[in-house]
Amino acid sequence: MTDFNDAYPFAAIVGQDEVKTALMIAAVDPSVGGVLVFGDRGTGKSTAVRGLAALLPERKVIAGCPYGCEPSPSASSCPHCSLPGTPTKAINVRIPVVDLPLGATEDRLVGALDLERALAHGEKRFEPGLLARANGGFLYVDEINLLEDHLVDLLLDVAASGRNVVEREGLSVRHAAKFVLVGSGNPEEGELRPQLLDRFGLCVEVSTPREIKDRIEVIKRRDAFERDRDAFAAAWDKETVRLRRRITAARTRLAELAVADAVLEAAARLCLALGTDGLRGELVLIRAARASAALAGAKTVGIDDLRRVAPTVLRHRLRRNPLDDTGSGVRIERAVAEVLPA
């Protein structure tokens, strides 16, 4: 369920720069808080997310912990690590990218009583769910706009708090569940509730490439991939490794990147001009700009970085006026041109 080893290589995706950048920004700084990818069918939304797994650097976890706890000096409260005498050897593992299928039950998502243990040994033990598996990584929900409401509420709650708290069947379990929520869907099939929309840090709209020659390239690459996956992956390996290095380097660089007051102020002015609600937009704008600068290998965060990430960060935060047909992209463009003149 985690890492899609034989997935289509991320590096081989034709175009779709905004999606790719948004996912990479989330990989560099998970605190941007989730990525929403909206677009038509057959535009490679899932391909990008599934391809991401191979790009991610490794992370350190406590060996054998099914909750993916990070080694930390303060005692972890997860059911595995809180047992006295649990060995705390740290190992490197791949960052998980976990798929949450539309039909998944609540049990599978949050975890439930381990029936095997209970029936065979009369022992009450918790069997971790997908939230535990996604800890420290990505949780991907395709067609998130069709997910049952109560599951959406649950996801939001956990994503916001970073903890999964289970109180059921006589079990009382809490464990870390910090993950980047990635959702994709086709808005024609139903909108996302505004409460949910706002929780995503970044929002990208994708469409099929308009240029015929890009489309041909997509088909050719996909065809080559399907005919010989190993050879195709090998051909793109160098590029994959290069991207992975870029992400790893950006992660280490992130802490050193200071954001000048002028940039902070520009971000505030941009949000004000667009009338976005609350401070979240501003905060994400700065974080995304910093991650973008880190990915570019820059020494400082500049207005340019702000400009680059503004559509992705703000597109879904604009107040909607259904009688105004101006697309959100255009409104942001205008505001950027006005507030941050080149």
């Binding site: 069918r41 409401d149 006589g170 024609e188 909607r320």
Partner: protein, 603 residues
């Protein structure tokens, strides 16, 4: 490249080809059999079972649960053995073969998602982890209208489409057309050797663009089809004939529009830029045409020629009605452009699951067996009688263990705007109605309510926006509505009755908002005449009272009209005079009506 001979079009032979092509290379792709169940469909399925390598076709029934599909706890065995017994999932069992999805148009969206995941990744995602499930899928699609369409995400993945209704029963006397096992097996062996010339890639992409198909999955499916067709023919190179077959079996059934034939292009200059691409795209989509011309800089001085040749060949083979039908569809572009309802099929409508509940069973509630077992499991040691512990292996379940699936039953309300688009005030009225639709959608998508719009003018009425909760879709559908002409009020009311009945049939509550001044002057047969038109309108209006549909008539005449009031009375509708008919007040009136309808339907 050979030109396909222009033989008569034979749907049965097309179906046979599609069947053979699917059987050659099923994993990750699919076959959609559209039409009612019948001997032709049975014959095709029976034959397909013989063509697949070893694995039998596995059938997925409509009500299948997740556990059976992806594996999980086998309840029967678990209860018998008093210890958990896992069962494999149906998707994994079909590994190497294919699944048949019965009544695919009614299958739960969540079931679709699991099948799609297996198609995409070749694995099935179950509680027991990932297991190999390289499968193809055959969907038996009996959906007849938009209300019952195959989930668009699944339809997108099933490349080949067979129209069963086009195949006459007499075809069954020609079983020899169906592919032989040996031929399919031979094709399977040579499939990986089939080369695709460079211009074939270009041609397929261009044909798809010409048909207004956006999804690149369709193009990939067409490519696989062409390759399999070549392999079946014993060739190692894809030819123009293979592309033609791929265009007919994969691309044409998805066509949103059709490119004009060379001889059609001249005589129809008045059509404002036929836009061979997608008529529902943003305006700059016209740039595609230019791209085709400069897509290759050097060798090919006549780019797109192969695509044109293939499309012309397809046009020559197919009966002219097929292309004409697509063109008609394209004219009502909005509807065809946004095919398929994204909502759950009716079977999933008995309320949304909302967690579990402990206690006594209420009528209509389903027992959550797994959760019940979980509740009982930890207490087994306590409940086992001390004396005869070994002799009773069964799990002891007590009433307090029972858990039930809680469902939130919430009927949705579909507000149907019926707008008089005739006469001089039409444009204003339409613009405001459109505004009201969008205002309502922006407000009500939280509740998952729906909005529809019907306009009537000139000779008849048309549903411009079928019930939807997508603001994006509404905006597109309402982009440009023509106005003016006579007032066929009866036709508008008939259409509204039809839509309202469909809404009620799937378990939701319709509310009709009629915007008119009540002055009918076009009869149902399209002819003028105030007297007849008025009588017909009154008769049609009484249908609303008869069926008990909630309705509001908004009189948009500058001065309130007795005629409009009469219609409202006949409909059993509330009468509201709103001479200005502004979007805000209209939306308010409609919202109020929807609210009271909702209260009544749940109360």
């Amino acid at each position: 490249m050979t030109v396909p001979e222009a033989t008569g079009y034979d749907p049965w032979s097309e179906a046979a080809s599609a069947l053979a092509i699917f059987a050659v290379d099923p994993p990750g792709t699919g076959l959609r059999l559209r039409g009612r169940s019948g001997p032709v469909r049975d014959a095709l399925l029976e034959h397909l079972a013989e063509l697949l390598p070893q694995t039998p076709l596995r059938r997925i029934p409509v009500g299948i649960d997740e556990t059976r599909l992806v594996g999980g706890l086998d309840l029967g065995a678990t209860l018998a053995a008093a210890r958990p017994v896992m069962q494999s999932g149906l998707l994994a069992e079909a590994h190497g073969g294919a699944v048949v999805i019965a009544m695919a148009e009614r299958i739960e969206r969540s079931t679709c998602a699991l099948i799609e995941a297996a198609l995409d990744t070749g694995e099935s995602f179950g509680p027991a982890g990932r297991v190999p499930a390289r499968i193809g899928a055959v969907a038996l699609d009996e959906g007849i209208d938009e209300d019952e369409a195959l989930a668009p995400s699944l339809a997108d993945r099933l490349g080949l489409v067979i129209d069963l209704d086009a195949v006459p029963m007499s075809a069954l006397s020609r079983m020899e057309l169906l592919p032989e096992h040996a031929a399919v097996a031979r094709a399977r062996r040579v499939l990986s050797d089939v080369a695709v010339p460079d211009d074939a890639f270009t041609a397929l992409v261009e044909i798809a663009a010409g048909f207004g198909i956006d999804s690149l999955r369709a193009v990939l499916a067409a490519l696989r089809t062409a390759r399999a067709a070549a392999a079946l023919d014993g060739r190692t190179m894809v030819t123009q004939a293979d592309l033609g077959l791929a265009a007919r079996l994969v691309l044409l059934p998805r066509a949103v529009t059709v490119p004009q034939s060379p001889d059609e292009r001249e005589p129809e200059p008045q059509e404002p830029e036929p836009a061979p691409e997608n008529p529902v795209e943003e305006p700059e989509s016209g740039s595609q045409e230019n791209d085709t011309t400069d897509s290759d800089d050097s060798e090919n001085d006549d780019p797109g020629s192969l695509a044109d040749a293939v499309v012309e060949a397809v046009r020559a083979v197919l009966p002219p009605e097929v292309f004409a039908a697509i063109r008609d569809r394209a004219k009502g572009a909005i509807k065809s452009g946004a095919r398929g309802r994204g909502d759950m099929p009716a079977s999933g409508r008995r309320g949304r699951p909302a967690g579990l509940r402990q206690g006594r069973q209420r009528p209509g509630e389903r027992l959550a067996v797994l959760a019940t077992l979980r509740a009982a499991a930890p207490r087994q040691a306590l409940r086992r009688p001390a004396v005869d512990a070994e002799a009773s292996p069964l799990i002891r379940v007590r009433p307090e263990d029972f858990r039930f699936v809680r469902r939130k039953i919430r009927r949705r309300v579909a507000t149907i705007f019926v707008v008089d688009a005739s006469g001089s005030a039409a444009l204003h009225r339409l613009a405001e109605a459109k505004g009201a639709v969008e205002l309502m959608l922006a407000e009500c998508y939280v509740r998952r309510d729906e909005v529809a719009l019907i306009a009537f003018r000139g000779p008849g009425a048309e549903t411009l926006l079928p019930p939807t909760r997508s603001l994006a879709r509404a905006k597109r559908a309402l982009g440009a509505i023509p106005g003016g002409g006579g007032t066929p009020l009866a036709s508008g009311l008939d259409e509204a009755l039809k839509v309202a009945a469909a809404v009620r049939k799937r378990g939701d509550t319709p509310v009709v908002i009629l915007l008119t001044d009540g002055q009918a002057n076009v009869a149902r047969d399209g002819r003028g005449g105030r007297a007849i038109a008025g009588e017909e309108a009154l008769a049609a209006a009484s249908g609303f009272r008869r069926d008990g549909f909630d309705a509001v008539l908004i009189d948009t005449a500058p001065r309130p009209q007795p005629r409009a009031r009469e219609i409202a009375t006949a409909m059993g509708a509330r009468y509201v005079a709103l001479p200005q008919a502004d979007a805000g007040r209209m939306a308010q009136a409609a919202s109020a009506a929807a609210r009271s309808a909702r209260l009544r339907s749940t109360g």
